[in-house]
C-alpha cells in the first residue's frame, strides 16, 4: 500500500466507506454539485479519480466548502 492509498483509507468520505445515514438521493446531489463545480473551474470531472476531486478543488472532505487555501 502506498502513501496515497493510506491517506485515501483515512478519508471517511471515500466511496467504499459506510455511508452513515446518507441516502442515495443526497449523495447524488452532492456528486452532481461537485462535478459541476469542477467544470466551472475548468476541470472535466470524467478525467479525475472521483476520490481525488475534492482535494483537487481544495474542498473540505465531504463538504462543498473550500479549505480556505
Amino acid at each position: 500500500m502506498n502513501r496515497r492509498d493510506f491517506f485515501t483509507r483515512m478519508n471517511p468520505f471515500r466511496a467504499d466507506a459506510p455511508k452513515g445515514g446518507r441516502d442515495a438521493g443526497s449523495e447524488r446531489e452532492r456528486t452532481d454539485a461537485l462535478f459541476r463545480l469542477a467544470m466551472a473551474r475548468g476541470i472535466d470531472p470524467a478525467t479525475v479519480d472521483p476520490e481525488r476531486l475534492p482535494e483537487l478543488l481544495g474542498l473540505n472532505a465531504g463538504t462543498l466548502e473550500t479549505t480556505g487555501r
Binding site: 500500500m1 493510506f6 483509507r9 466511496a15 467504499d16 466507506a17 459506510p18 447524488r28 456528486t31 452532481d32 462535478f35 459541476r36 467544470m39 466551472a40 475548468g42 476541470i43 472535466d44 470531472p45 470524467a46 478525467t47 479525475v48 479519480d49 472521483p50 481525488r52 483537487l56
Partner: protein, 386 residues
C-alpha cells in the same frame, strides 16, 4: 573507580512513557501499512445479476474521429463560456445561427433546416456550414455491434450516430450501415449520451430507418428530445430510467447519472457476458469515468470466470490530447482489472493509448485509415471481436 548510574523515578516514568507512546505510534504505522489492516475495510458488496451469456461480440468502428482539430473545438467551448456551456448555444452545426460563439440556440439552428431533415441532409448541412463555427471540424462517433447468441443467431445494433451529416453519411455508406438500417438488420439504436459528437448526426440514421427502436438516457434535455422528433423519428423512444436494462440474454445496458461537460446529463454503456471468456464493456465516452464503469459492473453483474475480458470505446482520459499527472491515476487504476483486450479509441486519446502500451496493457492497434491519425488504437473502419 566506578560511576554509580542511578535513575530517578521521574526519569524512569518519562522514559517508559516515551517508549510506550513511540511504540504505540510505530505499531499503528506498521499495522496500517500491513495487509491485515485491509481485512477491517468494508468489502464491496456484490449483488451480481445473472444476465445470461453470448458467444461473441464484434465491434466495427464506423467513426471515432469526433472532430478533426482539438484547438478549434476547445477554442469554441472556451469562447462560448467554458465547460458548463449549453452545447446548443455554442454555434456548432447543425445549430449555428451566425451570431458568434455562445449566442446560438436549438430553435435558431433547426429553423432553416427543419424541412430538409432527414431526407435532404446534404442541403441541410450546406445551409448550416454557412452559419456555424469551424464548419469543417465536426466528424462523429458511432460503432456497429454484432452479437452472436449461444445458438449461433446474430443481432446487430448501432451505438451512436456521430455529428456531421456529411461525414456520418459517408461513414455509414463506407461500412454498409445505410443498407443495414434500410433492411431492418440493425435491431436498435443506442444513444450513449446527448453530446454533439454522438447524437447530432441523428437525422442520418433517420434517413435510412425512421422507426428503429431507440434507447436514450432519461437525462436528455428538452432540446435533445425535440431533435429526435424534428429529425423525423416515427417510433416511440425507450427512455432508459433504470440502472440496468437487459436488452437480450448476455447484453445489458447500464445507466449512469452524472453531469457532463457542455450541459449534458447522463450516459448509458453496454456490458456483455461472453461465454467462457468474461465481461466485455462497450462505451461511447465513459463520462461516468472508467472507475465508476468498472466498479459498477464488478459489483452488479455476474459474468463468466468472474473476469473482465475486454473493453471498447472512448474511455475519456485525454480527449483533447493534453496530459496531466492526474490522468496517470486512471491509467494505473485500469490495470487492476486485467483486461485481455483493450479496444480503445476516440476520447481515450492517443496519448493515453501510448501510456497503456507503456504499462503493458493489451491495446489492440488499428490501421490509421479514413482520417484516424495514427495506429495507436482502433481507428475508423477497424474491427475487434471479443
Amino acid at each position: 573507580m566506578t560511576d554509580d548510574i542511578t535513575t530517578s523515578r521521574r526519569d524512569f516514568v518519562k522514559g517508559a512513557a516515551t517508549g510506550a507512546i513511540g511504540g504505540a505510534l510505530a505499531g499503528m504505522g506498521f499495522y496500517s501499512y500491513s495487509g491485515s489492516a485491509y481485512n477491517r475495510l468494508p468489502k464491496v458488496a456484490r449483488a451480481q445479476q445473472d444476465f445470461g451469456a453470448v458467444r461473441s461480440v464484434k465491434v466495427t468502428n464506423i467513426s471515432e474521429t469526433s472532430w478533426f482539430n482539438n484547438a478549434h473545438l476547445m477554442e469554441d467551448i472556451r469562447t462560448s463560456g467554458g465547460l458548463l456551456v449549453d452545447q446548443y448555444t455554442i454555434g456548432w452545426g447543425p445549430f449555428g445561427n451566425g451570431k458568434g460563439p455562445g449566442k446560438s440556440s436549438y430553435e435558431d439552428g433547426i429553423a432553416p433546416i427543419k424541412k430538409m431533415i432527414p431526407n435532404d441532409l446534404e442541403a441541410a448541412w450546406a445551409v448550416q456550414k454557412k452559419s456555424s463555427l469551424h464548419p469543417d471540424n465536426p466528424g462523429g462517433y458511432a460503432c456497429l455491434i454484432e452479437v452472436e447468441d449461444l445458438d449461433g443467431s446474430k443481432h446487430k445494433y448501432l451505438l451512436d450516430v456521430g455529428w456531421s451529416y456529411d461525414w456520418m453519411d459517408q461513414s455509414f455508406k463506407r461500412e454498409g450501415i445505410d443498407q443495414m438500417l434500410r433492411s431492418g438488420e440493425i435491431e436498435a439504436l443506442f444513444i450513449s449520451h446527448e453530446h454533439f459528437d454522438h447524437f447530432w448526426g441523428f437525422p442520418v440514421a433517420m434517413k435510412y430507418n425512421d422507426h428503429l427502436p431507440l434507447y436514450i438516457h432519461n437525462g436528455f434535455y428538452k432540446e435533445g428530445k425535440q431533435y429526435v422528433k424534428d429529425s423525423g423519428y416515427k417510433g416511440d423512444p425507450k427512455v432508459v430510467d433504470k440502472e440496468m436494462t437487459q436488452v437480450r440474454p448476455g447484453m445489458m445496458l447500464i445507466k449512469f447519472d452524472v453531469p457532463i461537460i457542455c450541459r449534458v446529463y447522463g450516459e448509458t454503456s453496454l456490458a456483455f457476458n461472453v461465454k467462457d471468456k468474461g465481461l466485455v464493456l462497450i462505451s461511447g465516452c465513459n463520462h461516468q469515468g472508467i472507475l465508476q464503469m468498472t466498479s459498477t459492473a464488478y459489483s452488479k453483474l455476474k459474468y463468466d470466470n468472474d473476469r473482465f475480458y475486454g473493453i471498447y470505446g472512448g474511455l475519456h482520459i485525454s480527449p483533447f490530447e493534453d496530459w496531466d499527472p492526474k490522468y496517470d491515476d486512471l491509467v494505473i487504476s485500469l490495470g487492476k482489472w486485467n483486461f485481455e483486450r483493450v479496444g480503445c479509441n476516440h476520447c481515450t486519446g492517443h496519448l493515453t493509448a501510448k501510456k497503456f502500451v507503456e504499462v503493458g496493457y493489451p491495446v489492440v492497434r488499428g490501421t490509421a485509415r479514413f482520417r484516424t491519425t495514427s495506429p495507436d488504437y482502433l481507428g475508423n473502419g477497424d474491427t475487434i471481436t471479443f
